[in-house]
Symmetry: C2
């Protein structure tokens, strides 16, 4: 079992809970955020920094300018408008940044090897849908193999959350005293959570399912439409 | 078999030959270089651009600032001095950038998926030594699996060169009419090849083994010391 790990912490709800969870299990030697030109990075990353600071964990931000220039996704600045409503295969696919988790894990793995950590914790989970190919267990296992074989330190991918749901993160974060007002989900990246894009809808549902009060301020709390 | 591919082309001898070789096999939709803060990037990348231009292939450069700041390696600006002489395990290990090929393949794979290519050609080969863990066949296979599983387009890693030697690249490039004066090897990144660092020594040996005249201008052509 690894002792020293780094945690991928975007500042979203799931990765912040993963940070607190990992902090109980391991020595977390760094929290790593990526500024890859998404519409909501400027809202997410300060949240990641806040929680790392609270836990006295070194926080590093890696800027990946190339994504905005080379990759196509509505998640990125310059991409199409973020769609409203429940995630459906078609609308969600637009927000996929190709191989994002693969890229983040590769960089985090190299960084881990560079600073003597043995593993990288990633909060990716399939939730109810498996549309992101790089959130699936099979991908995590393959990436784990690639990192183990490709680094001197045989870095491990710690993707223990892959089969859990978003409501699990709410419950676990609630237990660990996570301040959810300091986490960011909305893909639109306006001043407050919109409440109606796919990722806001999932956030709202996760609190309902976990039976935890949702402290988030939403621009709209229109009833959540049933799943298509 | 993939039709459209992108080629990782650093501007070194091996990847330039891989570019010409791939150009015979596939439709090469882009050549991709990385500016990751190495001491010799400023010498290599113009070579990559020159050959892409000659073959009428789109050339893109991805800048990875974070490596210089976060990763430790004598290959990087700000790192220790590049050692002279034949590669030995100890001196060579200093020049390793942790998981470099994993990071480059992950980014290239995402880019390939984004522009509708089906594979990524990488010139990595173990040569006579296997000190770089991310140049081994087992790593290439694992990374291939991760990319296939983690992308919509099931991107393949085309690491067909992994068991070949540097002298093979000289022979093949000679056949294909590659202008080797427009390729760069020296890790020191001075105005001309030093001739005495590990990578210059390997370049010189590869021409000798391939029985091809070496057109490179070296600062020193001292006799190559026998391997330790």
């Amino acid at each position: 079992m690894p002792q020293k790990v780094i945690v991928l912490v975007s500042g979203g709800m799931d990765s912040v809970v993963a940070l607190y969870h990992a902090h109980k299990q391991y020595e977390v030697v760094a929290g790593l955020s990526f500024n890859y030109g998404s519409k909501h990075n400027h809202q997410e990353i300060p949240c990641a920094a806040w929680h790392c600071d609270r836990l006295r964990i070194r926080h590093r931000v890696v800027t990946l300018d190339f994504m905005e220039n080379l990759f196509k996704s509505s998640l990125l600045r310059g991409g199409a408008k973020i769609p409203n409503g429940h995630y459906e295969e078609k609308t969600m696919q637009q927000t996929v940044v190709p191989f994002r988790n693969g890229i983040l894990l590769a960089i985090a793995g190299g960084y881990a090897d560079s600073i003597g950590a043995q593993g990288v914790v990633i909060a990716a989970h399939a939730g109810d849908h498996t549309i992101y190919p790089d959130c699936r267990k099979e991908f995590m296992d393959a990436m784990n193999e690639a990192l183990k074989l490709g680094t001197y330190g045989h870095i491990q991918v710690l993707g223990q959350f892959v089969n859990l749901t978003k409501s699990w993160f709410v419950s676990r974060g609630h237990e660990l005293g996570v301040d959810f007002t300091k986490t960011w989900s909305c893909y639109k990246g306006d001043a407050i959570h919109c409440g109606v894009c796919g990722t806001c809808v999932e956030r709202r549902e996760a609190f309902i399912q976990a039976k935890v009060d949702d402290p988030t301020v939403y621009a709209s709390t229109d009833p959540i439409p049933p799943k298509p």
